[in-house]
Amino acid sequence: MSTTVEPATAGTAEPISIHGQAVRRGDRIFRGVSLFAGITILVIIGAIGIFLIWRAIPSLQANTANFFTTSAWFPDQTPNPVFGIAALTFGTLFTAAIAMVLGVPVGIGIALFIAQYADRRLASTLGFVTDLLAAVPSIIFGMWGLSFLTPHMEGLGQWLNDYLGFIPIFRNDLNQYSKSILIAGVVLAIMVLPTISALSREVLTQVPRSTIEASLALGATRWEMVRQAMFPFARPGMISAAMLGLGRALGETIAVALILSASNVINWHITEPGGNTFAANIALKWNEAGPIGLSALIASGLVLFAITLVVNTIARGIIARHAEFRESS
């Protein structure tokens, strides 16, 4: 691009290109269009950030509690609004973490099975079905989670309490097992599966044939080959797949709003009803919120926005480090 000579008028002699003027003009137009597209995304992100900050300020000024350490959410209380994001941050990160712990191994397992172990017809069917899962709207997951999964997971909750209750997070002091963070996490895990498995499958099938064959020729078993030849090659892609999944888990709204008991408390017991997330809280409170309430919800949205930016930045960092390893090795 930097070597392009800008012709002053059309039709002057330009010796370099065989196609002449037309290509240069096309180049310039295309450069302009792609530059515009690139700037647009920056402008949009910046505009969203500015909008959130601007609309959040009134409530943050009115808040009589510490915004970061308070769990309660009573922004429309007069005269002293009290609200904070402690419980929301906890619930959002905790449900997303459960979704990652359950979803990432299974998602990568599906991808690996499709890429390496399944015969071709099964692989294409399975690939189609996991992609289909991605097209299911989240409200459907929410309704399924609420009316089917919630009653059917009470047994699991009870079992965890009875046999693993010595681990604090599995203990249940209330003897109530529905509408818990665990159930929301399981539904989120299912929702992030297709994202993770589809992207991981793509990168796993791109591992060069020669690398795989070299590994097998050296006497590696198939699992050793997967571990030593495929995973190092595919790791950056699999990490970005997991991060895209995490983005969905952090921002998922309606499914979580339906399933969670949505109380703004920090509760480590994952089988007890309770917990709330940023997105679910916004969905649940928006309709009836007064002016300060709306502003407070926007402030919480700003925090979610910041959390997703931080998570993505960290993911970029990890991918960049692994990419360096690959090039240097």
């Binding site: 109380s263 009836e288 002016p291």
Partner: protein
């Protein structure tokens, strides 16, 4: 060929635009020859938004009005009371539906918007909040106010608690944990229910009233339909919801005892509580103060209001708004409420409502 096609596409687009513009200019109102409930019909179109608690009542009224008066279009969006009031203040709508009267800050803005006259709260739809429960073997249940407060404040946690047993002699109560559901979304139902608890059971309910649930414990469910589903699917559960949701889900509901004996929730028993409410608004503003400690009617009631300008509303909207509210406050309009799970406004209060509606002018 391709040029003529372009021309055709443009022509069609322009025609579409003209048609849309024609629709757009259709707002405002006028009158035609017909009558509804003894009043002349108004035509035109108005928009309104607000309380979802009165959604079904408004849908029934709008349907009846539009059927009776051809040429009238009324669009009521159940966006929630808060959003409805904001829409009204921002001149998006002809009136707002709300679960509670205007608060001072909103009232100042609404009065300023109306310019020529104040914004007024007109009670139009009543409701009963019932305690629906799902306990096998318990067909009738009586709950005194302080027991209701105890259950929802998480201080009474089992069904065979002595306080519940004392109010229900002869009923075999199971030794099961109570699963008490509250609304996880902000809601006018929660606001009215907690107002009741705060007034009728102050010693057992030490939390504030409000649209957000403030007490610890219990489980949250989204929306009245979510509450009804939760009770249906959870054994040993109890939840508060509007009468119509309990009726539609065929749930058992508890009678409430404010100290004067158990009162079964119904449209009639709730209507007497609403009719006995005192008006705390001034002039034609009829914001109400409900006596939650009543022993003669079913005490857990809510009233939803229509909020509009007494004077100074958009001249194009006023005739149809006034005609609609005249219809909804007529005997025919109020008569539709009981059948769909609401509570009508009755007695002197209804007379005051009609006086307020008749005062609306542009």
């Amino acid at each position: 060929m391709s040029i003529s096609r372009t021309v055709r596409v443009v022509a069609i687009a322009m025609l579409g635009g003209l048609a849309l513009a024609a629709c757009g200019s259709d707002s405002g109102s006028g009158s035609t020859g017909g009558t509804i409930a003894g009043q002349p019909c108004q035509t035109g179109s108005i928009k309104a938004s607000g309380s979802s608690a009165q959604k079904n009542a408004m849908a029934a009224w709008v349907n009846a009005y539009q059927t009776g008066c051809a040429g009238a279009t009324i669009d009521y969006q159940a966006t929630g009371s808060g959003a409805g009031i904001q829409d009204f203040i921002n001149k998006q709508t002809a009136f707002a539906g709300s679960d509670s009267p205007l608060k001072d800050a909103d009232r100042a803005k609404a009065d300023a918007m109306c310019a020529a006259g104040p914004a007024i709260d007109i009670p139009m739809v009543g409701g009963a909040i019932v305690l629906a429960y799902n306990v096998s073997g318990v067909d009738t249940l009586v709950l005194p106010a302080n027991v209701i407060a105890g259950i929802f404040a998480n201080t009474i946690t089992t069904w065979n608690d002595p306080a519940i047993a004392a109010a229900n002699p002869g009923v075999t109560l199971p030794a099961a944990t109570i699963a008490a559901f509250h609304r996880s979304d902000s809601s006018g139902t929660t606001d009215n229910f907690t107002k009741y608890l705060k007034n009728a059971a102050a010693s057992a309910w030490t939390y504030d009233s409000g649209k957000e649930w403030a007490a610890p414990g219990g489980q949250g469910a989204k929306g009245s339909d979510g509450m009804a589903n939760a009770v249906t699917s959870t054994a040993n559960s109890i939840a508060y919801m509007e009468l119509s949701f309990a009726q539609n889900a065929k749930l058992a509901v508890a009678s409430v005892d404010n100290g004067g004996g158990a009162i079964v929730p119904s449209s009639d028993t709730a209507a007497s509580t609403i009719a006995a409410a005192t008006v705390k608004g001034t002039g034609n503003d009829l914001s109400l103060s409900i006596d939650y400690t009543t022993t003669t009617g079913y005490p857990i009631v809510l009233v939803t209001y229509e909020i509009t300008c007494e004077k100074g509303g958009d001249a194009a909207n006023v005739p149809l708004t006034k005609a609609l509210l005249t219809y909804t406050s007529s005997d025919e309009g109020q008569g539709k409420l009981a059948a769909i799970g609401y509570v009508p406004i009755t007695g002197d209060l209804l007379t005051k409502v009609r006086t307020s509606v008749s005062a609306i002018s542009s």
